[in-house]
Every structure is written in structure tokens, then in C-alpha cells.
Amino acid sequence: MVSLSSFLFLSFVLFLTGLMLVLGRKSIIFVLIGLELILNAAALNFVAYSRFVTEKLDGHLFALFIIVIAAAEAAVALALAIRFYQLKETTHLDELSELKH
Amino acid sequence: MTDNMPQFFQELFHLETSDCLTFLFYFIGAFILVNIASVIGGLATYAERKISADMQLRIGPNRVGPYGLLQFLADGAKMLMKENIMPLMADRFLFNIAPMLCLVGIFATLAVLPISGNLTLAHLDVGVFYVVAISSLVGLGIFLGGYASNSKWSLLGGMRGASQIISYEIPVVISILSIVLLSGGTSFKTIVHHQGGLPHEWFVLHNPFTFIAFIVYFIGSLAEANRAPFDLPEAESELVSGYHTEYTGMKFAFFALAEYVEVFVLCGVGATLFLGGFNVPFGLDTFLSKTPFPLLAEVVQLGAFFTKTFALYYLVIVIRWTLPRLRVDQLMSLCWKYLTPIALFNLIGTAIWMVYFHDQSIVEIIKAAGSHAGGGH
């Protein structure tokens, strides 16, 4: 039957793909997609525990806030990406290294 | 009053309830609803050409079938016959996905459309919220369509179409919010339940703010469906019919179908929210449901719903042939500088109205004042 551990597994898969994208890909948009996935994994966990363990709606609310914050974050991140593209004519992350020592 | 359609029929035909039976009823209901929707979509094309012809003193299609009623079937068959051309450098995967997304988006909203008390497929508690969410898929479909066809014009059309749809979604959502505020729940059943049969009990005349909300909703839904004054993305003259220039054959047909069904859905939702949905005046449906033929009540409610929806649809079509097309910056400034602020303050207005008048409509207040002044018993 559908149980908590299955959801944990699914959120882990999401988290893993998100991580792989963030670490492995060189284009900014890819990293942002990866980030979205990681956030979703966390939200899924919250809701799973809220459904199976606490039977209270706090988990739902927490996931709701995660979604809201993720949206705001995505907006700002994408604006940065575009401005980065306008400056450097590329979205390749390795160009983004002015902070090098 | 049963709470969903399969249970209604099971009681009607005195069958014992079981999972697969409900699934069966749902499937049949869904299939019928999809067909009805496609037929309505087709009829809409016919109606549009007929009405526009009538407005321009021409006759319009009358060759195929009586008074040209079957014209839409002819178009459909033609579409089937057309060759499916795919631009060379186009992104095959996205090119096919786009129309599907639009279609799925629209069909998903049909599930919640409140046709009548028991016949609506799904009485979701988050009904309105769900409709708004799913209809945003259409914008996505249009953008991908425009992008995938690998031509500057379609891309530009796609981006404009998408940005128009998503920006007009905001005033629509906020005006819906003010109705949700008033009816105290997002499910269509509670919204319709809070409205009466007669016009003065509808939400549109409930208070001035809901009236403004209706106007904003109507304009927003026009823009959302790329209709009439806002049909810039597939404007023939400038962008060579916008995002679906490269689409031929059935894909193009589905884009068009999706568009017309979306108008139908938006008018249906508008009718439910503002014009009292399937409420029949003078409590006729409750009376009929007590008689041996409960189905009659459903039929009466269906009648009420469809008349209201088609009235709005007629209005949409008429507007198409009266108002000139808006420029892009006018379109955008209308949305962000006029509709959204109005909708926001409208929302606050409804809230204040509810707090101040304790959810009474103007008519109720006048009646209450009248009774105070008069008898004051």
C-alpha cells in the first residue's frame, strides 16, 4: 500500500536529481531547475509527514510557504541570470567567477 | 441531495455502490462531456461566422446541413485531410507537446464546470482555485507552440500570447477572489448555493464591488482566451496568425478547438460565479426534484446554466466584431495600470462591504431598512 517510506523514496529521488543538476550542469538555467527540484523534494517530505505522522495541517502550510518562497527566489534568480547574460553574453557558470581570489 | 454524480445515478437506478461502478459512471460522464464540449466548440465557430455575417449584412455559412449547422464538421474533416507539416529546424518533441498541453489544460477544467446540481462531474472543494490553476497550462502550451515552430514571427507571437495570457490572469483571479470572499468557499456548489434564482439575488447585483468584479472578469477572460479586442497573438495582419502559423492539420484544429472551448469554459465559470449558475428562479428545481422524475430538475438546471453561458458567449462574439484590436503596449498598460489596481481595490472593497454590511446584498439592505422604517416590529 502507499506508505510514508515510499514518499520518502520519491522525495529522495527528486532531491538527488536536483542535486545532480545543480552540481553537474554549467548553464545557470539548469542550476535553477535543479534548485526548484530540491525545494519540491523538501515540500513533499513535509506533506508526507503531515499526512502520515502528525495528521495536522502545519505540514501543508509549510509546503505552501516553500512554494511561495521558491517562486520569489526563482523570479530574482532568473532576473540575475538574464542580467548576467547581458553582461557576459553567455550563461556558462564558469564565466561567473569574479569572486576568485 | 447526493454529493457526486455517480452516487446520484446509483440511487436513481438503485444500484449498490462500488468503486468500478463509480469509475464507469465517471468515464461515461467524462466522455459525454468532452464530446458536448467539442460540439459546442464547433458550433461556436459556426455561431461566430453566422453572427458576424449577420452583423455585416451577409448570410454566412448555410451550405452544409440545415442553415449551415454542420459547417464545423466539414471544417473538422478538412483538418483531418490536411498534411501535417513540421518546420525543418523545429523542435519535434515540443512541436507536438504544445497543442496537447492546451487541450489537456482545457479538458481538465471541464471536470469542474458546474453544469447542474448533480450532473457536474466533480464537486471539488477547491473548484474555482483548480480552474484558475489548470487554465494557466494553456498559456504554457501557446508559448511552447510559438517557440517550437522555429520562426521569428511565431516565437514573437508565442511570447506575446503567453505574456498576454499570464498578465490577464491576474485581474481574472483577483476578481474571482472577491467572489470567493463573498461566498465563503471556493467550491462551485457553495458559490451557486449563495446565489438565488432571481437576478437580484445573483452576485453580480449583490453589491457594486461584485459588479465591477464581473466587468473586470469579463474583460480579463476575453484577453485570456485571445478573443476579440485582445487577439493580438494570432492577429492575421501583423504576425501572420501568431504562434500557430507553422501548425497545420489536426494540431492546428486542436489549437482552435482548445481556444473555443476555453471561451465556453470561461463564460460558464463567469455565469456560475456572477449570474447564479444553475439556479432556477422561483425554486422550480427543488419543486421538480420532489416529483417522481428527479432528472427533470437536472434538465431545468442544465437549461438555466446553458442559457446564461450562451448569453455571455453571444456577448463575446458580438464584441469581436465591434471593438478594434488593441496595440501591445495599450493591452499591457490596460492590464497592469487599470484592471489589476481596480481588481485589487475591488477586493478590498468587497471585504469592507462584507464587514460593514455583514454580507448583505444591496436589495437585502434596502429590504431590511424598509422593514425597520416601516413596521420596525
Binding site: L10, V76 | V126, L140, E169
Partner: protein
């Protein structure tokens, strides 16, 4: 994997295996897994966005199975209707999909894990095995779940709204400030550059 997970839970009361819940769960889980995999393998960024869309729809379906209907709809409205479109806009505005998206040169310090496409696949499989081993080793799943009561589905929007307006009021107001900040920040950044 799926079999292992199902067999593990013990005290769940007898419910028909093939109910709508399981169908929905399987479909959305499948959709999500496939799209995640596709995301890992695709190079074309537009495809990546579509797969992200599919993954998010899958997650919405999962929310539904967890009786979180409001959350599912919000997910669809916000993510599918907003973030993905924004991503698409961003992709178009940052030079479309001809950008190079996979790292070419080997990663200097760490293991070759983040090399070419093939290594991705290997890395993915290795991590899956690692998870199962860790889960079974640390008995991650069972320990907490003592009792699982089949809770009937109930619409959550009213209770969520009540919770939001009373207990989480401060967060509710704070979020609007956050949104304001995001709006102004992003608008400022995205303002066209003056040559």
C-alpha cells in the same frame, strides 16, 4: 524499490489494493520519475523546462494522494503557471538552447563523478544503491511510523485558510513583504541597461 517499500509497512488496515489512490499514486510517481530521469539526460534546455513541468505536475499528483488538495492546486498554479513560464522566458532571453550545458573539462578536485553524460547515469545508480543500503541500515522508514490510520480525505482549503489567518498570521504578512522585496529586487535587476 517499490516492492520493498510496500512490503515494509505493517499496521496499515486492509484497503483494496486497486483503489483510485494507488492508481493516482503510481501514475504521478511514474510521471515524476520519468521526467527526473529525462532531466538528467537531456541537453536541450527547453526540453529540460518541459520535463521540469512534468516533474512538478507529478509532484502535484503526489500531493493529491497525500490528501493535500489545496497544495496540489497551488503547486500547479504557482509552479506550472508561473515559474516554468518565467523559466521559458528566461531561456529565450538568454540566447535560447544553443548554450553549452554540460561540463566539458574534468572536475579538478573531486572524483570524475561530474564528468560527461554517462558518468551522470553511473552516479545516479550508485547513489540509489547507497540510499537503499542506508535506509535499511538505519531503519529510516519504520522507526517513526508506529501507527498509520487510514484518514478519510477531507477538503483542506477552509482549515488551511483558518490556520493561515490565525496561527500563522505573522508569516502571512511577512510573506507579502518578502514578495515585495523580490518584486522590487527583480524589477530593479531586470530593468533594461542604459547604454
Amino acid at each position: 524499490m517499490l516492492v520493498v517499500a510496500i512490503e515494509k509497512e505493517r499496521t496499515f488496515e486492509k484497503v483494496a489494493i486497486v483503489s483510485f489512490l494507488t492508481i493516482l499514486f503510481i501514475l504521478s510517481a511514474l510521471l515524476m520519475l520519468v521526467s527526473c530521469l529525462a532531466l538528467l539526460l537531456t541537453k536541450n534546455i527547453m526540453h529540460a523546462c518541459t520535463f521540469l513541468l512534468a516533474a512538478l505536475l507529478g509532484v502535484a499528483g503526489l500531493y493529491l494522494t497525500l490528501h493535500a488538495d489545496t497544495l496540489a492546486v497551488t503547486q500547479v498554479l504557482v509552479y506550472v503557471g508561473g515559474v516554468v513560464i518565467l523559466m521559458l522566458f528566461a531561456v529565450v532571453l538568454t540566447g535560447g538552447q544553443d548554450q553549452e550545458s554540460i561540463t566539458k573539462e574534468k572536475f579538478p578536485h573531486l572524483a570524475p563523478l561530474f564528468g560527461s553524460k554517462s558518468t551522470f547515469l553511473k552516479a545516479f545508480l550508485v547513489s540509489m544503491i547507497f540510499f537503499v543500503a542506508a535506509a535499511s541500515l538505519l531503519r529510516l522508514g519504520e522507526k517513526e511510523i508506529v501507527h498509520v490510520v487510514a484518514v478519510n480525505y477531507a477538503p483542506t482549503i477552509q482549515s488551511l485558510g483558518q490556520l493561515l489567518m490565525t496561527d500563522y498570521l505573522f508569516a502571512f504578512e511577512l510573506v507579502s513583504v518578502l514578495l515585495l522585496g523580490a518584486l522590487i529586487g527583480a524589477a530593479l535587476i531586470a530593468r533594461p541597461m542604459k547604454k
